[in-house]
């Protein structure tokens, strides 16, 4: 039976809570209401209110409580109702969770789930992709699954990880994609990218919802004779530079794609890494397709202009392919 991206996250959480009694959930409206997106619907009935904790509207308190609980041996999974509001818990994340091990050797095995991304006409406060706020913070791990398989496997790995993991789940994928998942248990390792489509002429390096845009573009360009490789980063921190560079060595042309805004986006770090490591393999300039440097617009026509899509990728990829 096909499983949606949202259901895959539910399954991962459910299985980990059954496996380990130290795992518990906390967040705004995750219990009685089942979560803003219903990811945790039915959890409080199964696991009880001591393990599915409805909290006040305070992201700082949610993350702080999660850190404290982790110090006491628990494994909390905190939900930010929208990733945009993770900013209210910023100090707890970057100054406490990220540095706790480094400063006094205390592990912080917490997961912070952050529904992110646009394309749902949510406007500037409910559509952002704030992953890069955290990618530059050593001590954190940042994952961005694109598929249902990876969403389930990565949430399970994140819960078992002994360091703080930020789990960015794209809202636009929740009910949009589905696939058959293995019936047996599995996990997906954090820190490992995946070549999701093999190709020889050009590499598209991307993550999250943009993986699907890249695949759509690659399929259309194939009709023109272009063989496009698509690399899904899956984890942004730690970054799997080896898989990225291997793809560039293979195709010699690279297009970097993300839904996040351009300046300070993941593409900049990737471009620098590629230039440092495999510059001599490049047969063309490194090309970026990203959102422009503006807040996410509310008006549908502006959001459509803001978001990267297959047409924008095809235009840039075709140019680079023929370069």
């Amino acid at each position: 039976m096909s499983t949606t991206y949202l259901e895959a996250i539910r399954e991962g959480l459910w299985e980990e809570m059954e496996r380990d009694p130290n795992v518990f959930l906390l967040g705004e409206d995750i219990g009685v209401y089942g979560g803003a997106f219903k990811v945790t619907d039915g959890f409080i009935e199964k696991f009880g209110e001591r393990r599915v904790v409805d909290t006040p509207i305070s992201e700082e308190a949610i993350v702080g409580a999660a850190i404290g609980a982790s110090y006491m041996g628990l494994r909390p999974v905190a939900e930010m109702q929208f990733a945009d509001f993770i900013s209210c818990g910023f100090d707890m994340i970057v100054n406490f969770a990220a540095k706790s091990r480094y400063r006094w050797g205390a592990a912080v095995p917490i997961v912070i789930r952050a529904p992110s991304g646009g394309g749902i006409h949510g406007g500037p406060f409910h559509s952002q992709n704030p992953e890069m706020w955290f990618v530059k913070t050593p001590g954190l791990k940042v994952v961005c699954p694109a598929t249902a398989y990876d969403a389930k496997g990565l949430i399970k790995s994140a819960i078992r990880d002994n360091d703080p993991v930020l789990f960015f789940e794209h809202k636009g994928l929740y009910r949009k994609i589905k696939e058959d998942l293995p019936s047996e248990e599995y996990t997906v390792p954090i820190g490992k990218a995946k070549v999701i489509r093999e190709g020889d002429d050009l590499s598209i390096i991307t993550y999250g919802a943009m993986v699907w845009v890249a695949l759509e573009a690659a399929g259309k360009l194939e009709e023109e004779g272009a063989s496009i490789e698509v690399v899904d980063l899956r984890t942004l921190l730690p970054l799997d530079r080896e898989t990225v560079c291997a793809s560039v060595r293979k195709t010699s042309k690279v297009l970097l794609l993300h839904e996040d805004t351009r300046t300070g986006g993941m593409a900049g770090e990737l471009a620098a890494s590629i230039t440092e490591s495999v510059f001599e393999y490049l047969d063309g300039p490194i090309v970026r397709v990203t959102a422009p440097d503006t807040p996410v617009p509310y008006a549908a026509v502006l959001e459509d202009a803001f978001l990267p899509n297959a047409e924008k990728v095809i235009e840039k990829a075709r140019w680079l392919w023929r370069y």
């Binding site: 440097d293 807040p295 617009p297 008006a299 502006l302």
Partner: protein, 49 residues
């Protein structure tokens, strides 16, 4: 507010009606307005634009 004498029922009813009217007018204005021009995507991020 009624109990404390800060307002009477007529004043509250008037306030309620005026708020509804303001909202209705705003919705009507929005629905009659043209969609934004995509060329203005970067407008208003900073003062100079």
């Amino acid at each position: 507010m009624l109990g404390e004498g800060w307002a009477d029922q007529n004043a509250l009813d008037d306030m309620h009606a005026s708020i509804l009217q303001e909202v209705d007018e705003a919705v009507a204005w929005a629905e009659q307005s043209p969609l934004p021009d995509p060329a203005g995507l970067l407008d208003d991020v900073y003062e100079s634009r």
